[in-house]
């Protein structure tokens, strides 16, 4: 039996663990407030909160229930819109009513859930970040203008009435009538919940499920699954000597928040905004991003430039592979049957390095890149001692631009070498025309980005006029 809490109710179910939570709440629990718009993580209509105990405190995060298999729920708390309702509307719900932020209303529960996550978790409660919290929610009716007004109203109301310090937000929101009382009892209830951690049965590895359940939700209902997102251990991110070790089931958001990773990529918050949506990042793991092997996987592009290595395991045997050698061809990996990623190891660079990430997509947010690229530079007195530029969307695999990087080695940075690097890069890629742009466009774009890498990191050496 799989046991978890859904709103205030204890659930024990023997349904297939690959059933997605959206279907579970709507069909089994008959809670129709959670909506379905796409079943692929792209509309946010199905957003729910997922709560779990970490470091003795309950933490909630908004996730897309359409991509969340119930097998990942053991011992956790799921909150749907029904579980947020009180006798009176909350400030959040009222703001939506007063500002007409709901038109047909099909998207509304999703927005309410995403913003509840924001109130529960966001360190600063400002407008810009609140909007980011709903970047994964599509509304076809309102034009978002009224939703923005509602958010502004909410923030003023919250500011004047609630003291939301960083921790203990749950009890504070309960005390002020923004969350139902039962939230306070959930931690004890979860602690008492008995659930068998499923034995490590062999089966298809499911991490966050954000690729798997988009690609093959049907098939997954018919095969044994191995959920690896549970054990705390595999989610750990820590420093070991000069390496940052990222556990196989650490998510993009967990990584983003970890100090050692932030030391490597101080600008990770900015990059994160360009990657998926928060609910997706809350589930999506780095390992999953790597194994899915999309030629435009954003984290892979970051990790390639950071010279990451993978620690692979079968049983107790383990081996290490450089990430850039892991990809053998389109979706072909140096990964054996039964082998899995145990850890990702990222060298912590010496201080003074330069890093830049660029991505262009049709929509700036929640969209897959046409082209993305990252660049790591170590420089001594304008001389490049190490260059690692990676690029996605320009080849069947996420690419490390080996020729370009080799060319840049030991060069003094000046406009001429940048121009040459742009040329070499254009020659070592093989983009194809598809929905995300023509081959010609992608080639051109990558060249612009190479320029941008230098221009943003070395503005005193490479001015804007070089391009023109």
């Amino acid at each position: 039996m799989l046991t978890f809490y859904l709103n205030q109710n204890k659930i024990a179910t023997s349904l297939h663990h690959g059933t997605v939570l959206l279907d579970f709440v709507r069909r089994e629990s008959r809670l129709p407030g959670t909506k379905e718009g796409c079943r692929e993580g792209d509309c946010g209509a199905c957003t729910v909160l997922l709560g779990e105990i970490a470091d003795e405190e309950i933490k909630y995060r908004a996730v897309n229930s359409c991509l969340l298999p119930i097998g990942s729920l053991a011992g956790k708390h799921v909150v749907t819109i029904e579980g947020l309702n009180l006798r009176e509307n909350t400030l959040l719900q009222n703001a939506f009513v007063d500002e007409h932020a709901s038109q047909c209303g099909f998207c509304t529960p999703g927005f309410i859930l995403s913003l509840t996550d924001f109130l529960l978790n966001n360190p600063t409660l400002n407008f810009e970040e609140a909007i980011l919290a709903v970047a994964g929610n599509i509304c076809r009716c309102t034009g978002y203008e009224s939703i923005k007004r509602a958010i502004k109203l909410l923030l003023t109301e919250v500011e004047s009435r609630i003291e939301l310090s960083l921790d203990k937000r749950v009890p504070e929101l309960v005390r002020t009538g923004q969350l139902p009382e039962y939230f306070n009892t959930i931690p004890q209830k979860l602690a008492r919940l008995e659930f068998d951690v499923e034995p490590e049965n062999p089966g298809k590895i499911v991490a966050g499920g954000t690729d798997l359940f988009v690609q093959q939700a049907d098939k997954l209902l018919k095969q044994p699954l191995q959920f690896i997102d549970d054990g705390q251990q595999s989610r750990e991110i820590y420093r070991e000597n000069d390496q940052c070790i990222v556990g196989a089931s650490a998510t993009m958001e967990e990584v983003r928040k970890t100090p050692v990773f932030r030391e490597i990529l101080p600008e990770i918050d900015t990059y994160s905004k360009l990657i998926a949506s928060k609910p997706i990042r809350e589930r999506a793991t780095l390992a999953g991003n790597i194994v899915n092997a999309s030629p435009i996987a954003d984290f892979v592009i970051l990790l390639l430039a950071l010279e990451a290595k993978l620690i692979l395991q079968i049983g107790s045997a383990s081996r290490t592979v450089d990430l850039h050698n892991f990809y053998l061809g389109y979706k072909k990996l140096d990964l054996q049957e039964d082998e899995h990623i145990h850890n990702i190891s990222i060298p912590i660079p010496n201080p003074g390095f330069k890093f830049n990430f660029e991505k262009v997509s049709r929509r700036t947010h929640l969209d897959i890149a046409s082209v993305n690229t990252a660049a790591f530079f170590a420089v001594e007195e304008n001389k490049i001692t190490d260059a690692r530029i990676s690029a996605g969307g320009v080849a069947p695999i996420p690419l490390l631009l080996k020729n370009t990087n080799a060319f840049l080695q030991d060069k003094i940075i000046d406009p001429a070498i940048v121009e040459s690097a742009m040329k070499i890069a254009a020659e070592e890629i093989s983009p194809i025309s598809d929905v995300r742009g023509s081959a010609e466009y992608k080639r051109r774009l990558l060249q612009q980005f190479i320029f941008a890498h230098f221009h943003t990191q070395f503005p005193e050496l490479i001015g804007a006029e070089v391009l023109a």
């Binding site: 079943r39 047909c104 709903v134 034009g143 262009v360 804007a464």
Partner: protein, 769 residues
């Protein structure tokens, strides 16, 4: 006995008197002299609480005991003849209760990938999906064509071998029906005006001082409402059908189901309490509705059939694409001389690719010629989509107008004024838009910004028309405890008619909006409009007011003896009924209601003809848009929009503004992101999801400042006109003009994605160096 009333009519504050004849039992129409308490103010949605708490139940959410789930088997080929279907394995699959073909007899001719073949009903959705996989279809695959240019060629495979009847819904423009010929895949051209010839227009343009000529292309856009199409059907008796439908037209759905099953109308009940958006694609019952009802009858159980996102993109409507060659000319004083438009586009297996509305109806000039054709392709049929034909037409026309203005060195806004001299509303809107946006500060030279991010500001006009429908029946029931309920069958697509009804009834009865209950979305109630052509508010609101007015009159009759006066001396406000001349002599609404004989009374209001025709029959709009173009990546960001629109007298500003905002964002999304892509080689849509079919999100949206210009016509008791459609017409054209102003480059093809913009920029660089 009709009576005459003198009304204040006109644009904004510019009012004049007009004598209007109205029926004796009708209220004096609201006019420019009325400052009303709720009408035209910001009344929050009455269903807000239901929607923010997730309690609002959509068709998608209906669960009935024993309900089965149905799913379609759809053709995987774009063109085929199906002679054999083997369902023997599928019918044995656990849970399967019924399998029915969409056509009783084979062969079935398939004309697009995604066309319905048969449907399965099973106990669970999963079982239905699994059963579908066991069905063996023998396809005799035929040649197909999905590219409209290839489809026009002589030897192209033909989509239809017979003449195609044009099918129109309430979402299409009345009078759009055209008698044209069909040859191969081309239906048309439809020439307008009927007696025009290309020679005449060419001659007129040839003698013009300046002429611009270019070809514009627009893409196919899918409606992508958040709730998909679908129904839940329940045969409550052998000859009685109850159907929850996600529809824009409960009465049309009722009629179609009654027709399909040969049932009396009174035996079919359609319910649409909450509805997750339609935008023009949800008028009929659809093949899904009929099939669900058939399956339910066969399986003797209720059936739910809701489409999924992919089916939504493939099968149930879209905005047709277009190729428009436009040639327009002007004299040296900036007066337009004529417009020539040759346009074709594909609505797949449907019709409706015309684009000439804006070219015909925005500007004043002498010579016009248009040729419009539909090209059939093996793709899902188009459907009415928010201002059919107009965003496409305005994208081309408004860029051409802009280009001509630059050529003549006349300010583009000024140029638009010069060419609409007799339209007082448009003149007022252009003035307001100029002031709001600080147009005068704009650098007249395109591409003037230094640096890689270039900003620009563009303007475009929109046009729409006034339709309203007739014979709607609204009832206002007053109970003897004073409670009031207003009832009509109309559905609320989210556009807010429920709130509008409450607002009007509260205003008329002198009560608070919270005192009024509303029941809508049911074909067993009084006849209501189908929500298309922006008719709902303009059509229904006078009947709402007239019904509330009749109820008020009844209350006055009851109150008159109590106040020792006559009914004509009474007024109602703030929950009281009082003597106009002596407001202190009053009774509360409740006191009067207590005296209602029996339990309650019902007063009916009926929508009749307008009192008179509008002087200007069009509805207008001006949008000014600021964009930032990243010339290194081609990424365009719409930063700010100033929108000025008119819709007669707005009923509730919150819903009106929300329509404008929603129209603008759909326009931005159309301009920059959305694009249905069919693979030429397989005929299959490659982006039938929301991952690759991109719709604007909160972070893609500009700041929007909208102004609703009040226009009082006195044409009906409320003076309301719809706004749903006009708001989306101008947007893409304005974005195109803003991109030009930012960069000096015209992007004449939608969507204006980074690749197209960058390549256009490169081309310009190449040409200038």
């Amino acid at each position: 006995m009709p009576r005459e009333v003198t009304l204040k009519v006109g644009v904004g504050k510019n009012l004049k008197e007009r004598i209007v004849e109205i029926p004796d039992n009708a209220p004096r129409p609201w006019d420019g002299s009325d400052d009303l308490k709720y009408v035209g103010k910001r009344v929050p949605r009455v269903d807000g609480r239901d929607k923010t708490s997730g309690r609002a139940k959509f068709t998608f959410d209906i669960q009935l005991p024993g309900m089965l789930h149905a799913k379609f088997l759809r053709s995987k080929y774009p063109a085929a003849v199906i002679r054999k279907i083997d369902t023997s394995k599928a019918i044995k699959y656990p849970g399967v209760k019924a399998i029915l073909s969409v056509q009783d007899k084979l062969p079935l001719i398939v004309r697009f990938a995604g066309q319905e073949i048969l449907a399965v009903a099973a106990e669970t959705a999963h079982q239905a999906a699994e059963a579908l996989k066991l069905i063996e279809v023998t396809y005799d695959v035929r040649k197909f064509v999905v590219d409209k240019d290839l489809a026009k060629e002589k030897n192209a495979p033909t989509v239809f071998n017979t003449q195609v009847e044009e099918k129109l819904t309430e979402g299409d423009l009345p009078g759009e029906h055209s008698e044209v010929t069909q040859k191969g895949n081309v239906r048309g051209p439809n020439i307008s005006p009927k007696d025009a010839t290309p020679e005449k227009i060419d001659a007129a343009l040839a003698s013009s001082f300046a002429v611009v000529e270019a070809t514009y292309r627009t893409q196919v856009q899918t409606h992508s409402a958040m709730e998909t199409h679908g129904v839940v059907v329940d045969w409550t008796a052998e000859d009685k059908l109850k159907c929850w439908a996600s529809t824009q037209a409960v009465f049309a759905v009722r009629d179609e189901l009654a027709g399909s099953f040969k049932l009396p109308k009174s035996n079919v009940r359609i319910i649409t309490k909450h509805m997750g958006g339609g935008f023009g694609a949800k008028f009929g019952v659809g093949i899904y509705g009929v099939m669900a009802a058939k399956l339910a009858r066969e399986a003797k159980a209720p059936v739910r059939l809701m489409l999924d996102r992919k089916e939504e993109h493939l099968c149930v409507g879209n905005r047709p694409d277009s190729v428009q060659s436009l040639k327009i000319g002007a004299d040296n004083d900036g007066k337009l001389t004529g417009i020539k438009l040759i346009s074709y586009g594909t609505a797949g297996t449907g019709t409706g690719a015309g684009t000439s509305g804006p070219a015909k109806n925005i500007y004043e000039y002498d010579h016009f010629y248009s040729e419009e054709s539909d090209v059939f392709t093996n793709a899902g049929p188009g459907a009415a989509f928010r201002a059919p034909g107009h965003p496409q037409g305005a994208f081309a026309l408004e860029q051409a107008i802009d280009e001509l203005a630059y050529k003549l060195k006349i300010d583009p806004l000024e140029f638009r004024k010069i060419n609409t001299p007799n339209n007082e509303i448009r003149q007022a809107q252009l003035k307001i838009a100029a002031e709001k946006s600080g147009w005068a500060r704009r650098n007249p030279n395109p591409g003037a910004d230094k640096g890689p991010i270039k900003r620009g500001i563009g303007i475009a006009n929109s046009v729409w028309y006034y339709f309203y429908g007739r014979n709607f029946q609204v009832s206002t029931q007053v109970n003897n405890d004073g409670t009031v309920k207003v009832t009509n069958g109309v559905q609320d697509l989210g556009t807010g008619i429920t709130t509008v009804i409450v607002t009007i009834a509260a205003e008329e009865l002198g009560l608070k909006p919270s005192d009024i209950q509303v029941s809508i979305g049911d074909s067993e109630y009084g006849y209501g409009p189908a929500s298309g052509g922006s008719v709902t508010t303009g059509g229904l609101s006078p009947a709402v007011r007239d019904s509330a007015y009749a109820a008020k009159m009844k209350m006055f009759e009851i109150a008159a003896p109590m106040l020792e006066t006559t009914a004509d001396k009474l007024a109602a406000a703030d929950g009281k009924i009082f003597i106009k001349e002596n407001p202190d002599k009053s009774l509360s609404w409740k006191q009067v209601a207590k005296k209602i004989p029996g339990d309650n009374f019902i007063a009916i209001g009926e929508r009749k003809e307008d009192y008179h025709k509008l002087d200007i029959g069009t509805i207008h709009g001006v949008q000014i848009i600021e964009v930032a173009v990243d010339t290194e990546t081609g990424v365009v960001k719409a930063e700010r929009v100033y929108a000025v629109h008119d819709c007669g007298r707005p009923m509730d500003l919150l819903t009106t503004e929300s329509q404008i905002n929603g129209g603008i964002i759909q326009g931005i999304s159309y301009a920059l992101f959305e694009d249905r892509i069919l693979d030429r080689n397989t005929g299959i849509m490659v982006n039938s999801n929301m991952e690759q079919y991109k719709i604007a999100g909160a972070l893609d949206t500009p700041e929007i400042e909208s102004v609703v210009l009040n226009v009082h016509y006195g044409q009906s008791s409320t003076g309301a006109i719809g706004i749903g459609e006009p708001a989306t017409v101008a947007t893409a054209g304005a974005v195109g003009n803003a991109i030009f102003h930012a960069t000096g480059v015209r992007v004449r093809e939608l969507p204006m994605t980074p690749d197209k913009v960058l390549i256009a920029l490169e081309a310009m660089k190449g040409a200038s160096s």
